[in-house]
Symmetry: C2
Subunit: 205 residues, 2 copies
Amino acid sequence: MARAAAARSRRAAGVLTPVEERIIRAAVRLFAEQGFDGTTVQQVVDAAQVTKGALYHYFESKDDLLYEIYHSLIAIQLASLERILGAGDEPADTLRAMVLDLVETTAARVDEAAVFGREMHKLGADRMAAIRADRRRYHEAFRAVVERGQAAGEFATAVPAETVTLIAFGVINQLPQWYRPEGPKSPRQLGEEIATFLLAGLRPA
Amino acid sequence: MARAAAARSRRAAGVLTPVEERIIRAAVRLFAEQGFDGTTVQQVVDAAQVTKGALYHYFESKDDLLYEIYHSLIAIQLASLERILGAGDEPADTLRAMVLDLVETTAARVDEAAVFGREMHKLGADRMAAIRADRRRYHEAFRAVVERGQAAGEFATAVPAETVTLIAFGVINQLPQWYRPEGPKSPRQLGEEIATFLLAGLRPA
């Protein structure tokens, strides 16, 4: 347990070992095919070709796997967010960069996003609270950029920043329902179109 | 089976008996609490206070229940769609009416929408195809209204109608993730804000 907790802290910093990557990939595939409840730790062990001891060296429980599936995505997105905010650009450029990064990172891990979207309600209260805090952090950062643009007169104020934020995250969080890697548009192109539309909606009348 | 199939045809026309309503309500609650896989037909029978014979009089299987949970929502929405399109209004008014109706009907059945969003991948291929066809019908009608406005010069063409449609359905389909009936804004107010933003995004430059 102590070792698994230490592994969890390391992963919280975005560092995964190759064995952890293999276990997570196996878990994503099995949860996608059989659901979280329908998958046993033994099946993950078999699919990842590791020992049960190795799995428990890194992960406390099946809950820990589900948490990590999503956490590995949101950790990347939050790191990008810091970089984007750190650039200190105007609200419009900041918003465009956020949307592009969210679309590209979600498209790159679309299976993880799909599994997590379906199964997240199975997470225990502690891990759910941790995920909610990470999501809230991005949501609030996005809303703050919209509010900054509205306060500066660069963005329209007809629709509250909170609703604009829900619209932006709506299309991003629904992406696993319709995005296909083999589709005609690249994630970058989709991101550009979504950002262009959101900025058009924010243009002062 | 024949009787259940007849009941299904009747429900396809949007007509549910009080017993069917009670069974569906019990199924929504149990699927929400325990998941689709974790719920037995016997538990639905017990919760709805009907006999197993009564349930199978109306529903072929547990799959049929999951299908009906969503179908009862989309059937209402498709009926509204016909009414809205039949009014023959301008694209902007038509789009606003569609968004308002989608937000209000989804908010009114938010538990059903949440359960279905999580469990829809469990549906058998036939029922999934039927659901997809219903969703596609609304999606294509929405996109056609955007295209009509674009062709008439009333809407901007910077972003393809398909992407605008994905943005609109993104926020509507994600509504179960954040909408709470006790929240500060009514479904009508939320719908008005979302429609206002979408129409602002479609305003020609």
